[in-house]
């Protein structure tokens, strides 16, 4: 009996089309997403509070040491981080709806070109003698965003449509994947695979 109920629920979801949740569902899912992002933001603030503040006129050594210590503190604070922790299953259709609408077809060509600009998978930048190329970005929550890897440009129009993020989170693209990037600790926080064709 239980299996039958599950089957019916699944079938109903498939028939209704999971790509665009109803308006009230959408609001609820976005609220949950914002709450999850806020929890990360709070964790980041708490981690930063344990460190000496970084002056706005810092030396390269201070900047590097601060970023490293902040990343370490955040990584420790969410040691069990997993994919979908913030970009959880329920909200994925909401994101896909925005992303696929904005990035699809000829209308989305400019936006797709913008995203490719600075895509760390393809844009390795010029060579500096004696310096290895930046490492590949690993799609692993809590993994460091590699030193020297380019940051994709995010189209302004798309940014205006995606849910707002609290500091220090940002949307970035790696290949065809969307990531939540911690712009202060330089960490991959969460990701959504294959959103750009």
């Amino acid at each position: 009996m239980r299996s039958l109920v599950l089957f019916v629920v699944t079938l109903a979801a498939a028939v209704s089309g999971s790509s665009e949740p109803a308006a009230n569902d959408r609001a609820r899912l976005l609220k949950e997403f914002e709450d999850r992002a806020a929890i990360y933001s709070q964790l980041s603030r708490k981690a930063a509070a344990t460190l000496p503040p970084l002056p706005d006129k810092a030396s390269p050594e201070q900047i590097a040491a601060h970023q490293k210590a902040l990343a370490k503190a955040i990584q420790a604070g969410r040691a069990g981080a997993f994919q979908g922790e913030i970009l959880f299953d329920g909200v994925v259709p909401v994101f896909l709806d925005v992303l696929r609408t904005d990035l699809a077809g000829s209308k989305g060509r400019d936006a797709r070109e913008t995203i490719k600009d600075g895509d760390p998978r393809t844009d390795k930048g010029p060579s500096t003698p004696g310096e290895p190329k930046p490492k590949e970005v690993q799609l692993v929550p809590n993994a460091p965003y590699p030193d020297g890897a380019a940051l994709s440009t995010v189209p302004p129009d798309l940014l205006a449509k995606l849910p707002k993020l609290p500091k220090p989170l940002e949307y970035r693209f790696v290949g065809g994947h969307l990531i939540l990037h911690d712009s202060e600790a330089s960490l991959v926080v969460d990701y959504l695979k294959e959103v750009v064709a």
Binding site: L54, P55, D56, K57, A58, S59, P60, E61, Q62, I63, A64, H66, Q67, D110, A111, T114, D117, G118, D123, G125, P126, T128, P129, E131, P132, K133, P134, D147, G148, A150, L151, S152, T153, V154, P155, P156, D157, L159, A160, E170, S183, E184, S186
Partner: protein, 305 residues
């Protein structure tokens, strides 16, 4: 041989080539003293603001060092007080040794002379650069500052991440600016004849209406690894200076939008603002003047685009 003498000697060799290139650009009469010794075409007016523009500089290569050396040499005759950077300030790895190799060492002479650098972020820059003391960003990804003289305000933008917050900030800053001159600088060009990147039309859609509405006079950009001056758009003068560290040779496509392009060597721009007039001179790594001219800022209020 002093730095100035070195530059002048090099300038003599390249004088003919420079004259040929300059002949095709809008020209202004060079001051007699400069014309006699070197092809400096900027007027050095009393009380003027003098600054340099570099972009995509931070490669840490010999090419970057050569151009940086030349920039320092030109300062002997054109004493500029600040440099604006169009992003990609530190390519690739950016640990402390890279800040030295890709910025502090190439521009050491200028830094030592008290020249202040103001950076915008490029797509190869870690946003943490905003805390770096010598980029004078005050810990902000976008910021504005008033130039020490001549009634000029600069607005540095982060074109990699143009969200609503930044756009709201820009509108507020432009609205509140009582400056005579408004100069925006950032990485991605709104207009470009580049074959590789081309114009960032999405960015143009959100930025240009603000530029027009609030009377921005000049927009300085990088990203394309060449020099280009565009035909004014809605009375706004657009420049691309993205070849202070590397070159994308032969990358400028023929375009009616282009007033002058140079993609044969690295280059920087020197600018001088005196009253309602802006003078510019673009110099290649070989010491050649590849473009020069001047324009007056249009009277207010500006027509809507």
């Amino acid at each position: 041989m002093t730095a100035s003498a070195t530059r002048k000697a090099r300038a003599l060799v390249l004088l003919l080539a420079g004259a040929v290139a300059a002949a095709s650009a809008p020209s202004i009469a060079p001051p007699a003293s400069a014309a006699a010794s070197a092809p400096l075409s900027l007027p050095l007016k009393q009380g003027s603001l003098r600054f340099a523009v570099i972009g995509d500089s931070g490669t840490g290569t010999g090419a970057q060092n050569e151009l940086a050396r030349l920039l320092a040499e030109w300062r002997a005759d054109f004493p500029f007080e600040l440099v604006v950077m169009m992003g990609d300030n530190i390519y690739g790895r950016d640990d402390p040794r890279d800040y030295r190799q890709k910025f502090e060492e190439p521009y050491g002479t200028l830094l030592g002379a008290g020249v202040k650098f103001y950076a915008a972020l490029g797509n190869h820059d870690d946003p943490k650069q905003r805390f770096y003391e010598k980029f004078n960003m005050g810990g902000e990804r976008y910021y504005s500052f008033k130039a020490p003289k001549a009634g000029v305000r600069f607005f540095a933008l982060d074109s990699n991440y143009m969200d609503k917050k930044q756009l709201d900030w820009l509108e507020k800053e432009l609205q509140a600016s009582g400056s005579d001159w408004k100069i925006c600088f950032f990485h991605h060009p709104l207009y470009s004849s580049g074959k590789k990147h081309g114009p960032s039309e999405e960015l143009r859609t959100v930025l240009e209406p603000l530029f027009v509405k609030y009377g921005v006079d000049v927009v300085l950009q990088g990203h394309e690894h060449f020099y280009e001056r565009l035909q004014p758009q809605h009375d706004i003068h657009y420049f691309i200076s993205g070849s202070a560290g590397q070159l994308r040779r032969g990358n400028i496509a023929k375009s009616e939008l282009s007033a002058r392009g140079f993609d044969e060597d690295l280059s920087f721009i020197l600018m001088e603002i005196a009253g309602d007039e802006l003078y510019f001179q673009t110099v290649s790594r070989g010491g050649k003047t590849v473009d020069s001219g001047s324009f007056k800022r249009p009277p207010e209020p500006r027509k809507n685009g």
